[in-house]
């Protein structure tokens, strides 16, 4: 047939492709490896959940039958309703509170901004359930302020009230960070023009500030809602008999071994997260489009009354944060709450030594270090390959998608997927189940997206032609990666490592499905001790984690400074 002999260069033939240089093959293999990693430790476990939800106990396909069973179980529907309204209430309280705080930090001349910011971010250093434990000491049956609660007509802190208050405290720093970055993006020129036209402060707020932060507010509200609805620790500790979706998953899977129903609830938990992710994605794009490169950064001018008011407000919030942390510290040091409050270290000794939690604490450190090392390496190499190498559009598109996916997957859902996927006897990776290695990999995947976005931002700031220049000089890309890209990006690398470390220290949700007695973590131990009624050692353990995280933050900061001095000398040069 003549047609098959038509040369390729003829019009209509397939487009030309360049022959691959051997260095490009290296890059392609590396992309394939990272995609494979994310498929095995993210995509397949998630698919395993879907499969569980669509099959009966014998593995036969039953369609949506499990969902129908769920919809006919009144107790489970009650949990769904509970989760929804509690999350909505927490969102409605936290977002305005955090907005005020963020506004004070970015748009006023309030003194001690660094200190206020630091205090507000403290809850990030401990597992979220620290706030629940503190709350029990404040308002529990033996709480210091129990009578205040009684006076308000609230019977007990256990239940919805406790969950809402504890979540507000624990989620506050997450909401705050989003709003700070939203409010930092301001064009001073808009305010100058408004001033030139004699606009009142209130009108400026409603016509410039609020519209400018609109997308940040949407994003903050969605993230807050999702974090609350998927949080497991707080409802477990202070929820009492008040059931929510997150605790249902745990009860169904671990307690009743009803995997199908567990999978159905997990999918329900996935919905708000996926919605948040989708909306956030659109919102982010609009937010960046709003601010042009020519914008002039806004700096607040002093205004006595406003600054004083915001100082008072932030002091109040900071006081609440400190009361939360302080009570946990105080209670963990009290000999025998509430009868003997003389300080002693016995809960630390009991928790760590007698209860064999020292191993747990050591496991936590080990896992956090592993997560920081492995996570930073995988995330940064993945981001580099995605941003700076060429070819293989399909594979790189898959990588881009998989890297963003963990943001939309609550830890609880990921952990459940791991059980279904890795605990299957047929899985060749079955040997990993219950090991610290799998828990490390799970944590890397769980927190992948934030690290990835940090790395991408750092890489995007580099000149896009470095790789082209290297190729023209016949220098393989990995040499340029090592000599140029990596040294320039070290500050971002330290940030990513710290983020992984702190989160690995404090995470509960995914890991709670994966540990064995040998690989128990400190954060899990808190949960176990609380279940056993040992609240004081639990508090001690939470404080210890917070202390370790704080110490790690300081160490990472010093490391960052040291690396900065060694590799960033070129930044400090002047003409």
């Amino acid at each position: 047939m003549a047609a098959t002999l038509t040369p390729q260069t003829a019009a209509g033939g397939p487009p030309l492709r360049l022959r691959a240089h051997w260095t490009e093959r290296v890059a392609q293999a590396a992309v394939a490896l990272i995609v494979l990693f994310l498929l095995a430790f993210l995509a397949l476990p998630l698919l395993a959940i879907l499969r569980q939800a669509l099959e009966d106990r014998d593995g036969a396909f039953v369609g949506v039958a499990n969902f129908i069973v769920y919809a006919r179980t009144p107790s489970l529907l009650q949990s769904l309703w509970n989760s929804l309204w509690v999350s909505a209430v927490v969102t409605a309280i936290t977002v305005p509170l955090a907005f005020g705080f963020a506004y004070a930090l970015t748009r006023t001349c309030m003194p001690l901004k660094g200190l206020f910011r630091g205090i507000a971010l403290v809850p990030l250093l401990a597992p979220s359930l620290l706030s629940a434990i503190s709350l029990i000491y404040w308002f529990g049956n033996q709480g210091v302020l129990k009578h205040a609660l009684d006076a308000l007509g609230i019977e007990q802190i256990y239940g919805a009230v406790g969950i809402v208050i504890a979540e507000c405290l624990a989620i506050f720093p997450h909401t705050l960070m989003i709003l700070i970055s939203a409010l930092t993006l301001a064009d001073a020129r808009l305010y100058e023009v408004a001033d030139a036209m004699g606009t009142t402060a209130a009108r400026k707020f409603f016509t410039i500030t609020l519209p400018g932060a609109k997308y940040g507010l949407i994003s903050a509200a969605l993230v807050t809602f999702t974090l609350v609805i998927t949080d497991f620790g707080i409802p477990k500790v202070i929820g009492g008999s008040f059931n929510v979706l997150a605790t249902d998953v745990f009860k169904l899977v671990i307690g009743q071994q009803d995997f199908a129903q567990g999978a159905v609830v997990a999918i329900l938990l996935l919905l708000p997260a996926v919605l948040t992710f989708g909306v956030d994605h659109i919102v982010q794009r609009k937010q960046t489009a709003m601010l042009t490169a020519r914008a002039v950064p806004y700096t607040a001018a002093p205004a006595r009354g406003r600054d004083l008011a915001f100082t008072a407000y932030c002091s109040l919030v900071a006081l609440l944060m400190l009361a939360m942390l302080g009570m946990a510290v105080f209670a963990s040091l009290a000999s025998f709450w509430p009868y003997n409050l003389s300080p002693s270290l016995k809960h630390y000794v009991y928790g760590l030594v007698d209860n064999d939690v020292a191993t747990g604490f050591f496991n936590s450190l080990q896992m956090a270090a592993g997560t920081a090392l492995l996570g930073t390496a995988v995330v940064f190499i993945g981001a580099y390959l995605q941003e700076k190498t060429r070819g293989m559009a399909l594979l790189r598109g898959t990588l881009r998608m998989l890297a963003m996916l963990p943001m939309a997957v609550p830890g609880l859902v990921l952990g459940l997927g791991y059980i279904f996927f890795f605990n299957a006897p047929a899985n060749p990776l079955n040997g990993l189940y219950h090991t610290l290695a799998l828990m490390t990999l799970c944590t890397v995947v769980h927190f992948y997206t934030t690290g990835h976005l940090t790395a991408v931002t750092a890489l995007k700031a580099l000149d896009g032609e470095f790789e082209a220049v290297s190729a023209s000089l016949k220098v393989p890309f990995f040499k340029t990666f090592w000599r140029v890209t990596l040294p320039i990006c070290t500050p971002a690398l330290v940030d990513i490592a710290r983020y992984f470390f702190i989160n690995a220290m404090t995470t509960i949700s995914a890991i709670v499905f994966l540990y064995s007695p040998e690989t128990r973590l400190a954060s899990i131990a808190i949960l176990n001790m609380d279940e056993a009624g040992e609240l004081s050692p639990a508090a001690a353990m939470a404080v210890l984690i917070a202390a370790a995280s704080a110490l790690a933050t300081v160490l990472f900061m010093l490391l960052g400074r040291w690396i900065d001095r060694r590799t960033q000398a070129w930044r400090r040069t002047t003409r």
Partner: protein, 370 residues
């Protein structure tokens, strides 16, 4: 009347069969349904300085990137020194490249930047150091080896980027708008240096630019591009004096566009009737557009009997230093008005101001008809 007579052929192509450094044949590039390049055929001679000139989006940068292997042509062939490089990855081609953004490695010193490609060739250290010294001297920055890029001005950084691209003695130098990020004075200075350096080293060079003045000043030949296609290839004089298309006449230099009519082999321009020679005279009678550059109107000498003499009234004078853009009302043939260049001295000598009338002469052999 202009026609492309053989006498006006560019010096380069009239040289005895120059060696071809680079050949592009039928290059075509599409991004989805958008055609970025079409029917690009071009031969670049050894040691030649070529400029790709055109408005933004005309495909000039895409063509440069295709030559560098940073973009892949949809079809077409590229040959360098007779070797087919159409499908070679960038690392297997032979060129040095300089970008608008300099793309200097900010964490490496000037010496490390310049020697970046040399180190990979496993040359002895002393030899590398010697070559670096030589190169920074060549680009006029001796003694800057220990500095970081951030310590240099934009122009200095671009000189170092040039030294880095030349370090491995490539057979082809590609410059992608290398001067666009610099201020006006530095731009002129560096373009002269680049031209001098190119002539000294004899390296075949392709520079992409949107600045016609830059292209006219440095190029041996200019490739004028528009909408992904080549409009004209020629020496700066050719492109300026004998634009092959209305687009080229319009894009390169300033031009007055006037309505005219060809009748019986002569050009009627309002009340003026000019003889028409060459291809322009042939063909049926028709409406044409007449392109006339502002400097092709002379104030003297005026021979009163000359048929190309006309009267104009000054409507506006735009002062530009030694000469002025003078906007004239010339109802005889230019209903939209006419812009001419007149020297400041002439205006002063004749005490011309807005409202004055003056007598001028068309340089009829420069008039182009499309």
């Amino acid at each position: 009347m202009p026609s492309r007579s053989p006498a006006a052929a560019p010096a380069i192509s009239s040289a005895s069969s120059p060696e071809r450094s680079l050949e592009l044949r039928g290059i075509h590039k599409a991004f989805g349904s958008f055609v970025a390049l079409q029917h690009i055929d071009l031969a670049v001679h050894k040691g030649e300085f070529i400029c790709f000139l055109g408005p933004s989006g005309c495909g000039k940068t895409t063509l440069l990137r295709v030559i560098a292997g940073l973009e892949v042509q949809t079809r077409g062939e590229i040959r360098q020194n007779g070797r087919d490089i159409s499908r070679l990855p960038p690392a297997d081609r032979d060129y040095g490249i300089v970008f608008q953004s300099y793309a200097l490695f900010p964490n490496l010193s000037v010496a490390d930047n310049v020697s970046y490609g040399l180190v990979n060739r496993r040359l002895p250290r002393a030899q590398i150091r010697q070559r670096v010294t030589e190169l920074v001297q060549l680009v006029g920055l001796p003694g800057s080896e220990g500095k970081y890029p951030a310590q240099l001005s934009g122009g200095q950084q671009q000189r170092i980027a040039l030294a880095r691209a030349l370090a491995t003695s490539p057979g082809l130098l590609l410059l992608d708008e290398p001067l666009s990020a610099l201020d006006a004075l530095e731009r002129v200075r560096l373009r002269q240096e680049i031209r001098a350096l190119q002539q000294e080293l004899g390296v075949t060079t392709i520079m992409v630019t949107h600045d016609q003045e830059e292209a006219l000043a440095v190029a041996d030949r200019i490739v004028v591009m528009n909408q992904g296609a080549i409009e004209q290839v020629g020496s700066p004089q050719e492109v300026y004096r004998e634009p092959a298309s209305p687009f080229v006449a319009d894009f390169v230099g300033k031009v007055n566009v006037l309505p005219g009519r060809v009748r019986q082999g002569r050009l009627e321009l309002g009340s003026l009737v000019l003889p028409l020679a060459g291809a322009g005279a042939a063909g049926p009678d028709r409406e044409v557009r007449v392109y006339l550059r502002p400097e092709d109107v002379l104030a003297r000498p005026i021979d009163e009997g000359d048929p190309h003499v006309f009267d104009g009234a000054i409507e506006k004078i735009e002062f530009l230093g030694s000469y002025c853009h003078v906007h004239l009302a010339a109802p005889a043939f230019a209903p939209q008005g006419l812009i001419v260049y007149l020297s400041l001295n002439y205006l002063a000598e004749r005490s011309l101001a807005i409202g004055s009338t003056l007598r001028l002469r068309l340089l009829q052999e420069r008039v182009r008809v499309f």
